[in-house]
């Protein structure tokens, strides 16, 4: 294909404006799943990320709830708006993960849930009379919370990421990072990265999906900094005349958005401000297509496997 120069202003570039208007009107969906042992600050982090009370904890669950005996999948949806753009955010929580004495196969309910969402979408797509806009309940991003032991990944972490790394975008984060001093943090991160490499686990952004050199260099920088060591908080304190989100201890205030204290702002920028759309695209173009191809090949046609989904959804 060759390019040709235009002889005057045509107005093709207004398509960007048209797209923007359209997206603003329709709004978009984003489904984020949080996985990790209880007490790692998952709900607090999600609240801090989206600067509102969107987690399961805020929708009527108290912190003293007993740990469930099996892994449950609980999803809570909210519609949040910013700058005229509406987003239907669904937070999928997995209480009971990794909390039992015997945690064999505790990732199976999660894997089942993810595949069920793909199945739902597939069925809608394959329908003769399709809806104009298929509701997208597929999990776009899975935040996996690593416990800040300071030594290495636990067996459970490795198993989970191995089993689910091919089905969904996994972003590992180091939880409760105010436990680690800066030196311990870098050491731990290096060790975790090495261990992930050794086990062949690819977390998002995956190297194989980098489209061009620009993408690669951007993503390389991000990959070097992962997993992000984060601290979450929904309380505000006064520091140097400013009101900041933080955690107040007897020896100082941990500022959540201060890049010297923790990498929360890096995670937020990465997740929301730059790669939100990319997460959705990778889920749709790659993970979903992999699932679809497998399903169509396996059965030589389309036989529905299970049509029941036992997740609870509460829509606001």
């Amino acid at each position: 294909m060759w390019g040709s120069t235009l002889l005057g202003y045509v107005g093709i570039d207004t398509i960007i404006e048209q797209m923007r208007k359209k997206t603003m009107k329709t709004g978009f969906d984003f489904n984020i799943m949080v996985v990790g042992q209880s007490g790692l600050g998952k709900s607090t982090l999600v609240n801090t990320l989206f600067k509102s009370q969107v987690s399961r904890r805020s929708s009527g669950w108290s912190r003293d709830d007993k740990i469930p005996k099996t892994v449950e999948i609980k999803s809570v949806s909210h519609v949040i708006e910013e700058g005229g753009v509406k987003m239907k955010l669904t937070v999928i929580d997995t209480p009971g993960f990794g909390d039992q004495i015997n945690n064999e196969n505790c990732w199976e309910p999660i894997s089942k849930y993810i595949n069920e969402q793909y199945e739902k979408f597939l069925k809608e797509e394959v329908n003769i009379a399709r809806k104009k806009r298929i509701p997208d309940t597929r999990v776009h991003c899975c935040l996996y919370f690593i416990s800040p032991t300071g030594h290495s990944l636990r067996q459970l972490d490795v198993e989970f990421m191995k089993h689910l790394g091919r089905a969904v975008n996994i972003i590992p984060v180091i939880a409760k990072a105010d436990t680690l001093t800066p030196e311990e943090k870098t050491e731990f991160k290096q060790r975790v990265r090495k261990e992930l490499e050794v086990c062949g686990i690819e977390f998002y952004p995956q190297k194989e999906f980098d489209e061009d050199m620009e993408d690669k260099s951007d993503n390389d920088k991000i990959r070097e900094a992962m997993p992000f060591a984060v601290v979450g908080s929904d309380k505000e304190y006064q520091v140097n005349g400013k009101r900041v989100l933080g955690r107040k201890t007897a020896w100082g205030i941990v500022e959540v958005e201060n890049p010297n204290h923790c990498e929360f702002s890096l995670l937020r920028d990465f997740l929301i401000r730059s790669h939100l759309q990319d997460l959705k695209e990778v889920t749709h173009n790659i993970h979903y297509e992999t699932y679809r191809a497998k399903r169509l090949n396996d059965n030589g046609g389309l036989h529905p496997i299970s049509s029941s989904s036992d997740t609870q959804e509460s829509n606001l």
């Binding site: 042992q37 007490g39 015997n102 800040p148 032991t149 436990t179 007897a250 020896w251």
Partner: protein, 429 residues
């Protein structure tokens, strides 16, 4: 006044005084006797002997156990050259012990640290407490055997005196694994729960967490180590303060940092320094004082008097119940050797007697049987004999009858022949 010192400390010189003593009242001495020196003698002897203390640390990896041990005893038990168990990857729960000899102010302490790497780290942690229980029981058994030996000169005390259980600072409550472990170990060893890496929690979160943990501990009826109440006011205030702060939230560090010109041990963060020995930052000083400075002896006493005695009575009851020595211990167990032998002899004699009577019984029975059999066959023979006799007689009679008939026939025939002859003769005339 005669003040006679005997083993009973009785005073003569006044009926009333004697009465008072018999009632057990304390009396003032008339002069300096000198047995107030007794504690010093005990002290000197113990110092010469040295002390032993065994401390066990249990918890998931990465909770700062090794760092805490280093901080408590101000030595580098686990250092860069001898990395602690946490640096190694393990597939199953191991129980490892390291001994170190610490000297301070002329007092020697043989400190044994028992570590449990791999605890709670696998995906399936069922029965990860079993190696720990086995270890504690085996140490108690060793002591039991040593106690029962004839030659008891050397009795090393390797029993676990205290178990520090590290709880992960989730902020919510106890995990199922924590509850299971403490339930199984609270009657074998003194369990002291600690909140590890307490610099993760803000003061409010810490309070809530502690309350939640204590509530759950009471719910599940877990008996953690109870500080004994003393009579003196000083100590009881201290003890009450400790009890309020249970479980203790600790932070460990052996790195010295500078804070406001002072050198303290702590952890340096970009937002401040968490001081290890600052009572407002964490409960490390409380733990150290309690463990080493005030309650070390009490921990040993409770282990000896309560946990060890429980183990011992359970073990011995099992042996005597069966009547047969089923335990694999090498030494004798219940009484002195002579009494044991006497008992064994008696047992043996009784056994022999029983066997004898049994055999006699069996013999009798057999004799009776045989007699019966013989009688039976005799009767049988008689019967047959009779029968045969009768048969014979019957045959004889038959034969007689036949002969008679034959004779008759013969006589008839002869008579007929004679008649025929006569007729013939008559006819020829």
């Amino acid at each position: 006044m005669l003040i006679k010192l005997s083993s009973n400390f009785y005073f003569t010189g006044g009926h009333s005084r004697y009465e008072a003593f018999r009632k057990g009242l304390q009396r003032n001495l008339e002069g300096y006797v000198g047995f107030a020196n007794l504690p010093n003698q005990v002290y000197r002897k113990s110092v010469k002997r040295g002390f032993e203390f065994t401390l066990m640390v249990v918890g998931e990896s990465g909770l700062g156990k090794s760092t805490l041990i280093n901080s408590l005893f101000l030595t580098d038990l686990y250092s860069k050259d001898y990395p602690g168990p946490s640096q190694r990857i393990k597939k199953t729960v191991q129980v490892e012990q390291s001994k170190v000899l610490i000297k301070e102010g002329g007092v020697q302490l043989t400190l044994t640290i028992v570590d449990t790497p791999g605890f709670g780290d696998a995906v399936d942690n069922s029965n990860c407490w079993q190696p720990v229980i086995n270890y504690i029981d085996s140490k108690c058994e060793d002591f039991l055997n040593a106690e029962s030996r004839v030659n008891r000169r050397q009795m090393p005390d390797n029993r676990v005196h205290c178990c520090l259980y590290f709880i992960a600072p989730s902020g919510h409550g106890l995990k199922p694994l924590d509850i299971e472990f403490m339930k199984r170990l609270h009657d074998k060893v003194n369990v002291i729960p600690l909140i590890a890496k307490a610099d993760t929690l803000t003061p409010e979160e810490c309070q809530l967490f502690k309350k939640q943990i204590m509530k759950e501990i009471q719910e599940h009826k877990i008996k953690i180590y109870e500080f004994p109440d003393t009579e003196e006011d000083e100590d009881s205030k201290l003890i009450r303060k400790i009890k309020e702060r249970m479980p203790l939230a600790v932070v460990g560090s052996n790195v010295v940092v500078e804070v406001n010109g002072r050198k303290v041990r702590g952890r340096q963060y970009p937002w401040g320094v968490a001081e290890v020995e600052n009572g407002e930052h964490c409960d490390f000083t409380v733990l150290r004082n309690m463990l080493i400075r005030t309650h070390m002896q009490d921990l040993k006493d409770v282990t000896n008097n309560v946990h060890y005695e429980n183990y011992r009575s359970k073990k011995l009851a099992a042996v005597t119940c069966n009547g047969v020595d089923t335990s694999k211990s090498k030494g004798q167990l219940t009484k002195s050797p002579l009494a044991q032998m006497e008992e064994e002899r008696r047992e043996h004699v009784m056994k022999m007697k029983k066997m004898e009577t049994e055999m006699e019984q069996v013999f009798e029975m057999k004799v009776k049987e045989k007699k019966q059999k013989l009688k039976d066959s005799e009767a049988e023979l008689e019967r047959r004999h009779e029968q045969m006799k009768r048969n014979l007689e019957a045959q004889y009679k038959e034969l007689e009858e036949k002969r008679r008939q034959f004779e008759e026939e013969k006589a008839n025939w002869e008579a007929q022949q004679r008649i025929l002859e006569q007729q013939k003769l008559d006819a020829s005339k």
